[in-house]
Amino acid sequence: MQPEPVNNRVKIVLPNTLGYERVAMASLASFAKMHGLSADRIEDLKTIVAEAAINAMQHGNCGRPDARVTIVFKVADNTINVKVTDDGNGFNKEVKDPDIDRIIAMLDKPVGFGVFLIRNLADRVEFKTLPEGGHVVEMLISIN
């Protein structure tokens, strides 16, 4: 994806503390409403930005209190583009979809729901380790 001159980019920098993902959810919901996204897709968008921000805090920034999570969103080609960046090195293993039957049978731990929800609710998602360091999750939701 080429950088393009869009004039609707919003950037948010959050403290690395669980709970602050709510601030990203609220601002992105307001942004998406301004740009005409439907109410049910706004709910999806809130969930995926929350999950990506939580993962950035916990897995990317490993809970370090001085770390920050940076979230950038914009609209281009009738698509909402959300990037969530942390200071980490990205995924160190493949993430499988959680298997609820195995979890209920206590064969698996109840983990993996964040990535599962992002994959299932976004129209497109990419997890990328950045050459300059850090990791970004880029998620797209199309407006129509």
Binding site: L18, G19, D40, I100, D101, I104, P110, F116, L117
Partner: protein, 116 residues
Amino acid sequence: MQQSANQIHIKSRGDVTVLDIRGDITAFSESSLEEAYQKANARDTAKLVLQIEKEAYINSGGIAVLIQILTHTQRSGQRVAISGISEHFKKIFKMVGITKFAEIYDSPEAAVQNLG
């Protein structure tokens, strides 16, 4: 910052126990939900309703906490319903598979009636 446990009121409706859960369902809900479930169990309940607020924010951490409760209820052979959640979270609970282990109703009254 307000990252407190949930306020949970435990009510008996015939042979059904309703956990009326106030607030968001996140990883921070674990202790209050587990504690309320243990209290409900002390009543020897075979049927349980988890009433969640329609405006509640539920995230992956909260989903894990709910599934942990469902692990207990499955082992004890208890029947569980979840009520109150928005259309968005009905969709997500289906996606994740929670609906295989809990029935979903719009209101706690509907849940009690159907479990009872």
